[in-house]
């Protein structure tokens, strides 16, 4: 049978299309990737901060800076501690000198030294990257240099980041900054290099009062997951739809 021109063209087109489509549809996976794709992730890191326990000593900030090689005297930090002083007249005074690194040794807040009888409540709030389930920083990175792991942690590829600062602008929590030495975006990783080896993050290990804990929210037997699922916990800035994974016990409405 004489092959018709239509048939011939059809075959050629189909062949060309499949040639183009093959590398798009069939993705060759690294062995690690294949393994990760097969098993459903049973791990999702989550952080628990008990603000009732925090004493504002700043050990977490010190430990973090040393562990992650963030210049010790720079004002930026992967984690920081905020002090809140709510006065009886409703005014809220907040500070975080040197990111809370050296603790809060002066009673002066925002240039004021409120009298004890004027203070309604005062407390400390540790902050770090929320490793959001829906991270805006990952969404806006123009080159894909920042990415979310299956375990939920958001990382930055220091060899890929172009330093545009879009991720810094898009984080509602102020968790990101430029690493002053590497000139790339920098952020808390829950000390991913430690937790993947079964260790605790530096800040968790350094906290003398157990105000900071990390756990696997997908494991019902995990003590941290138990607290998060059974206690009344809050997250920061829920309204941005980022689904943050740092949970707070005793979060006050004054906290920003």
């Amino acid at each position: 049978m004489q092959p018709s021109r239509r048939k011939f063209l059809k075959t050629v087109c189909a062949g060309a299309a499949s040639l183009i489509a093959a590398p798009v549809i069939l993705k060759f996976l690294e062995p690690g990737e294949a393994l990760a794709a097969m098993e459903k992730s049973k791990l999702r890191w989550a952080f628990l901060v008990d603000t009732h326990k925090c004493i504002g000593c700043g050990f977490c900030v010190k430990a973090c800076k040393n562990e992650n090689e963030i210049p010790y005297d720079a004002s930026v930090s992967r984690t920081w501690v905020e002090r809140y002083v709510v006065k009886k007249d409703g005014t809220v005074l907040i500070d975080s000198p040197k990111a809370g690194r050296d603790g809060f040794t002066s009673p002066e807040v925002e240039g004021q030294t409120p009298e004890a009888q004027d203070i309604a409540k005062a407390f400390f709030v540790p902050k770090l990257c929320n490793q959001c389930e829906n991270p805006p920083c990952v969404q806006v990175c123009p080159v894909g240099a920042t990415y979310q792991l299956k375990e939920g942690v958001v990382l930055v590829d220091r060899k890929w980041c172009i330093g545009c600062g879009y991720c810094i602008a898009s984080c509602p929590y102020g968790a990101r900054f430029f690493n002053p030495q590497l000139k790339v975006a920098e952020k808390c990783t829950f000390c991913y290099h430690r937790i993947k080896k079964g260790m605790k993050p530096a800040c968790v290990g350094a906290c003398p009062v157990g105000a900071r804990q990390i756990g696997n929210i997908k494991d019902p037997e995990d003590p941290v997951a138990k607290v998060i699922t059974t206690s009344r916990v809050a997250v920061l800035k829920d309204e941005y739809g980022t689904d943050p994974q740092v949970y707070y016990l005793g979060l006050d409405r004054a906290v920003r």
């Binding site: 210049p71 005297d73 720079a74 004002s75 930026v76 930090s77 920081w80 905020e82 809220v92 005074l93 907040i94 500070d95 975080s96 040197k98 990111a99 925002e110 902050k127 805006p136 990952v138 969404q139 806006v140 990175c141 123009p142 080159v143 894909g144 240099a145 890929w160 980041c161 172009i162 330093g163 545009c164 600062g165 879009y166 810094i168 602008a169 898009s170 984080c171 509602p172 929590y173 102020g174 968790a175 990101r176 900054f177 430029f178 002053p180 030495q181 000139k183 790339v184 309204e239 941005y240 739809g241 920003r256």
Partner: protein, 405 residues
């Protein structure tokens, strides 16, 4: 505040007030003000030229030719401020090679190149006859310079030497098509610059769906204004130097100014609508936005942007019997006003802390003491602002669009 012992990007020109998160600083400085300003000028200049080619506004013929070539000069400069503000400028090509398409910035490479191709081909179709004539005239030219010039124009013809009536007519059709195609692409180029800001949900001042529209309209305003200003000044200067009466006609300038006026009114309306809406809905962020808009930045926003940059030029353009001088003063003020609008968006958006409990003040680095304070300071901005004129000067040597036909 004592300066940081370790140089952290942004901290150098940021002064904090009340409570600001430790990691916050004004990361996006003058270069990110210049970036939407320059892309806006590109889009505006192109729209002005397209008004002649597509809408057939013949009174704009001379200025349209100029505007298109000037748009090209501006287009080459538009990505430079982005490049200068990168902390890792040597990795900039990753935006083109590994774009991450959920990011608004990732689309930049594509839109920019599509637009570049449209503008370049439109210029080529308009001036092909000129290239052919130049190539023919220089055939067999003596001397190195003459031969190089012949080769240059011959290459520019791309081998299309046919200049009979039909092929020239086809050229014209292509120009109309490209100009028509270019308008939406130009709007997209700039609308997406607005999207870069408008989609940042963390930033209370930036996040509004009106942002891309406001950016497009004010872009057209600034682009037309710059074309009128540059075109008029060059025309006046040429006739002054030649000692002849100026060929610049009031009809031509005031026609272009009329289009400018329409877009200006639209821009002001949209910006005011945005502000009124924010005040009326008074969301959580309004308290801090109000203190930025009505206290911290009141001079920048109301005096410099709205009064000097919008209201006064609006009145100057509305007064009957326009004169060239009055129009030129008005367009210069409008250019300044659009610049202040970009400033108030970019810097104003970072004037308050994400905590809504503190403020940041921007101090533009003036005298540079290192590379960073040069490229993200006043002199970096002046370099960027002067480059389009240098590029245009070079282009005009190749294609003299300012000479009479």
């Amino acid at each position: 505040m004592t300066p940081d012992p370790v140089m952290i990007h942004g901290m150098e020109w940021t002064v904090k007030e009340l409570f600001v998160y430790p990691n916050e600083s004004i990361n996006w400085g003058i270069m990110i003000v210049m970036y939407p300003y320059m892309t806006g000028l590109v889009a505006g200049a192109f729209v002005l030229s397209a008004l002649y080619h597509v809408a057939g506004k013949t009174e704009l013929k001379k200025i349209a030719k100029f505007a298109l070539l000037f748009s090209m000069a501006l287009l080459l400069v538009a990505p430079m401020p982005l490049l200068l503000h990168l902390q890792q400028p040597l990795r900039c090509e990753e935006v083109f090679f590994t774009p991450h398409f959920t990011s608004a910035i990732a689309a930049f490479g594509m839109i920019f190149f599509i637009y570049f191709i449209i503008v370049a081909s439109e210029i080529w179709f308009i001036h092909r006859k000129f290239f052919v004539a130049q190539s023919m005239a220089r055939q067999g030219a003596q001397g190195v310079f003459g031969r190089v010039a012949w080769l240059f124009y011959t290459v520019l013809t791309l081998g299309a030497f046919n200049v009979d009536e039909k092929s020239l007519h086809d050229d014209e059709k292509a120009v109309v098509f490209l100009a028509g195609l270019g308008i939406p692409v130009a709007c997209f180029l700039h609308g997406y610059a607005g999207f870069i800001f408008g989609s940042v949900k963390a930033n209370a001042l930036w996040m509004t769906p009106l942002m891309p529209v406001i950016f497009i309209v004010s872009a057209i305003v600034s682009g037309i204004a710059l074309c009128i200003l540059t075109y008029s000044i060059i025309s006046l200067w040429r006739s002054f130097r030649a000692g002849t009466k100026t060929t610049l006609e009031i009809e031509e300038v005031s026609k272009a100014a009329k289009y400018l006026l329409t877009f200006l009114i639209l821009a002001i309306t949209l910006e005011l609508l945005d502000m009124v809406f924010r005040g009326y809905t008074a969301m959580k962020s309004w308290a801090i936005l109000r203190s930025v808009i009505f206290e911290k930045d009141i001079i920048n926003i109301f005096v410099l942007q709205y009064v000097v940059g919008n209201l006064v030029p609006l009145i100057l353009l509305l007064i009957p019997r326009p004169t060239i001088r009055r129009i030129l003063i008005a367009v210069a003020m409008i250019l300044f006003g659009v610049f202040m609008m970009r400033w108030n968006v970019v810097i104003g958006g970072q004037a308050f802390s994400l905590s809504f409990a503190g403020f940041m003040h921007y101090h533009l680095p003036i005298i540079p003491h290192n590379l960073e304070t040069y490229k993200e300071g006043l002199f970096g901005a002046l370099t960027i602002a002067s480059l389009p004129f240098i590029f245009f000067w070079i282009f005009n040597k190749i294609i003299p669009v300012l000479d009479k036909d």
